[in-house]
């Protein structure tokens, strides 16, 4: 409202086919718009977002020399950018545009109340016009983008994203909380439907991330603090004390030719034995350990919670001097432009579904435990046995939807999406490895929607697996044989079944990793109802988040199989690389500004700012008064300071007090009663 020009607003109402016109009288709204003070031109069109639709705006601006544009259509979260471009083409500052949401928040939610919807649409327009009258020219601030990216989580998704970014010439920090990269995929034996060996296809990629010149691999490391904004994130990571020096670290300490070479002598002498989480606790590891032979990096790690600091490992290590029992966590701050979150998943604690007896009966195991038991590099070197007695199971039952599609609150309401397929694969592996073995899959629906998946289903059925369409009611153990009786109904037969199995495998539902919430909040990413991270748009922006410069890859955004995870990882990588390659980003110019004449220098706003963007400075008019001053690069435009300032001295650009008050008045005072 700096310039005292007479406002001349153009209003354009969109039909959106029948999406809007179906429940709102568009013509009526247009006619009404013409009566609103400040409106110089009102028009309507089938699809305002179409080229001709935008053309109307461009022409009208010239023809009626408009000062502001209002489009009444869908949500600004969808098409504000589109129409800002049109406004700009018309020769106006793009921030002279305001949108009235008469679709998502009107026609679609009042479909059966045309009168009420139309009345509301008029108010929506009037409110938008009121703001448009007071809109001002704003110049977006462009900031340089750090030529580096970060990927959090080094499962197959994180690995793929890092390789893509790095190969695109971008310095990439790959952060992994565990001592090795590889994630869940490295625990799998075979992959459906092609049945290629998981390790065989993953290990090369694991090696690549280890040696790629552009990738700085930081395993056994966690996110500590996140500051800054797109293009200029300052991320502090905690490099956990692993107690073992890499060759480089050793050299840095002047131990030439020293450092861990993965020989494993230390582990042999270590007296402390712990279950190995990589083997789902079914195999032991020492207090100084590696997960498995193919770990990347090949560095041993000391579990300081278990270590008794006896020092045997130091002797065993000898001249390499790789072991430092006094090592401490290290905090490192990294500057990056964009980040990709790929934190993956856990299995839900399926023992909570008591009826299936996991952790009550030895011979009930989860799908992941099965993967380790059937894997050649696993604790049984690939010989499937049943835990109770080491015997080879002959009859195996698979319980699908174990905890998925469950609305009881003691389970997950969603479909975990890959259990059907891996259970089919498990069935195949059994029939391949154990001649004469009988396999029963208890399913509700077989969801084989991927490429060559349905064909895989056909193949497994042809190999002799028996599919029983019914969810398992409960599992009971025969106290003598330790066999399991699986009770349920064959719903297609309409008969209850009691199938005696030697081994029962639960296709347990998946859930976000425990750390997800922490990381999510560090980056200001919201979560969807099911607990997974929320994408910017479910259809059109599945990799993005509402935080500019932060992207999602893999299961952390929702259950996915490997192909989908890799695809999304590559999508996220390309999205994350764009601002970095352009080298600069425009920040929406919604900065706070101090109106120094009004500022009493009370300084109350300073602490309110979450980004330390505000400071008290001497006013440079010799008055000696202290006034607030904004560092625009730090300000993200939340307006918390402006909402509080007792003197009304803070001007929130594009959301100024006059603008908002005008909107309120327009709704409550103006227009037809």
């Amino acid at each position: 409202m700096a310039d005292k020009e007479e406002p001349r607003v153009g209003v354009f109402v969109c039909h959106c086919g029948t999406n809007i016109a179906g429940s709102i009288d568009v013509m009526d709204v247009v006619e009404f718009a013409k009566t609103i003070p400040g409106v110089a031109h009102a028009d309507q069109y089938q699809y305002m977002c179409s080229t001709p639709g935008q053309g109307k705006i461009v022409e009208a601006i010239k023809e009626h020399n408009l000062t502001g544009i209002v489009v009444a259509a869908c949500s600004p979260r969808l098409h504000e950018p589109t129409f800002r471009v049109a406004t700009k083409e018309g020769g106006l500052n793009p921030f002279r545009f305001e949108m009235a949401n008469i679709r998502e928040q009107n026609s679609w939610v009042h479909m059966h109340d045309k009168e009420g919807a139309t009345r509301k649409a008029k108010d929506n327009v009037r409110i938008a016009v009121a703001k448009a009258c007071l809109l001002e020219d704003l110049i977006p601030k462009t900031v340089p983008v750090e030529h580096a990216a970060m990927v959090i989580g080094a499962g197959v998704g994180g690995i793929q994203a890092s390789l893509d970014l790095a190969s695109a010439g971008i310095k990439t920090y790959l952060i992994e909380k565990l001592p090795t990269v590889g994630g869940r995929m490295s625990q799998l034996d075979k992959t459906f439907p092609t049945l290629d060996c998981s390790q065989c296809i993953l290990t090369p990629k694991m090696v690549d991330v280890g040696r790629h010149p552009n990738i700085e691999l930081m395993t056994y490391t966690e996110i500590e603090k996140v500051e800054g904004y797109i293009g200029n994130f300052d991320i502090t990571v905690r490099k956990k004390a692993r107690g073992v020096l890499s060759p480089d670290e050793a050299t840095a300490r002047g131990i030439i030719g020293g450092g861990c070479n993965g020989c494993g002598d230390c582990s042999e002498v270590c007296p402390v034995i712990k279950p190995n989480p990589f083997e789902m606790g079914m195999a032991p590891r020492k207090a100084i350990y590696i997960y498995h032979a193919q770990v990347m990096p090949l560095l041993y790690t000391i579990d300081f919670d278990a270590c008794v600091k006896c020092g045997l490992c130091i002797e065993a290590c000898g001249e390499k001097k790789a072991i430092d029992l006094e090592m401490e966590d290290e905090l490192i701050t990294l500057k990056i432009g964009t980040a990709i979150i790929a934190t993956g998943f856990n299995l839900m604690p399926i023992e909570n579904k008591r009826e299936w007896g996991y952790k009550q009966f030895d011979n009930v195991i989860t799908g992941l435990e099965f993967e380790r038991l059937i894997c050649a590099s696993g604790p049984t070197s690939g010989h499937l046995i049943r835990p109770s007695d080491g015997e080879t199971p002959k009859t195996i039952g698979f319980i699908l939807c174990a905890g998925s599609r469950d609305n009881t609150g003691n389970g997950k309401p969603y479909c975990s999406r890959f259990c059907c397929m891996y259970s089919l694969k498990h069935a195949h592996q059994i029939m391949e490895k154990i001649p004469g073995a009988k396999v029963y899959l208890f399913y509700m629906d077989i969801r084989s929607f991927g490429k060559m998946y349905e064909e895989f289903y056909y193949r497994i059925q042809s190999e002799g697996a028996k599919f029983i369409r019914g969810r398992v009611a409960n599992v009971l153990e025969d106290p003598i044989t330790r066999n399991l009786h699986v009770f349920g109904e064959d719903t297609l037969l309409g008969r209850p079944v009691d199938i005696e199995c030697d081994l029962v495998v639960l296709a347990a539902a998946v859930q976000p990793v425990d750390e997800e919430d922490v990381i999510r909040k560090h980056f200001g990413v919201s979560k969807s109802q099911d607990g997974w991270m929320l994408e910017a748009h479910p259809k059109l922006n599945p990799c993005g988040t509402t935080t500019a410069g932060v992207f999602l890859a893999g299961v952390c955004q929702g259950p996915k199989d490997i192909p989908d995870t890799v695809a999304q990882a590559e999508g996220a990588a390309s999205a994350a690389s764009i601002p970095i390659h352009i080298g600069q980003v425009e920040l929406e110019p919604y900065f706070a500004q101090c109106m120094e004449d009004l500022c009493a220098g009370c300084g109350m706003c300073i602490d309110l700012c979450p980004y330390q963007a505000l400071a008290l400075v001497d006013r440079n008019d010799g008055s000696g008064r202290k006034v607030m001053n904004v560092t625009e690069a730090k300000c993200k435009g939340c307006g918390t300071c402006g909402g509080f300032c007792p003197g009304g001295a803070i001007k929130m650009q594009h959301f100024t007090t006059p603008q908002i008050v005008a909107q309120i008045d327009a709704f409550l005072c103006g227009g037809e009663q």
Partner: protein, 140 residues
């Protein structure tokens, strides 16, 4: 419909959670009464108590402020700082002799379309039970 009284309810909602949630309700075609008009701000932290007072002075029958759940604020804690102010609003309303039920602050996330609809239904219900704002009546 026309002869029946339609309350005038103002909603000031944050761009990242509640506005997105409201859009989601639209995508899901979840129906709710059309008596609420929403104004979008980037964060509920932006909301000056005076905005709400202004709305009531203008004769609003009810005002709704909605933001992210605590801990989910896009700007770390704007919603928390706003909430602290909004408590004050209620006591001011009481001192003015206005039912504080006419004002409400809720927390609706970007994924809670259905919740947004129930919130609106509830707000409208409450306000309809309270009847027109005495201030509005006075202005007539």
């Amino acid at each position: 419909m026309t002869d029946e009284w339609n309350p005038k309810i103002l909603a000031i909602i944050c761009n990242w959670c509640s506005y997105a949630g409201a859009d989601l309700a639209g995508g899901g075609r979840i129906q709710y009464p059309p008596d609420v008009r929403a104004i979008r701000v980037m964060c509920t932290g932006r909301i000056d108590m005076l905005f709400i007072m202004k709305a009531f002075a203008d004769g609003a029958d009810g005002v709704l402020v909605s933001g992210c759940h605590f801990g989910d604020c896009h700007y770390l804690a704007g919603n928390f700082k706003a909430a602290k102010r909004m408590f004050m609003v209620k006591s001011v309303l009481r001192n003015l002799g206005l039912e504080d039920k006419r004002f409400r602050m809720t927390f609706v996330s970007a994924s809670e379309g259905a919740k947004w609809a129930t919130v609106i239904e509830d707000v409208v219900k409450t306000v309809k039970e309270l009847g027109p704002s005495p201030i509005a009546e006075h202005q007539k």
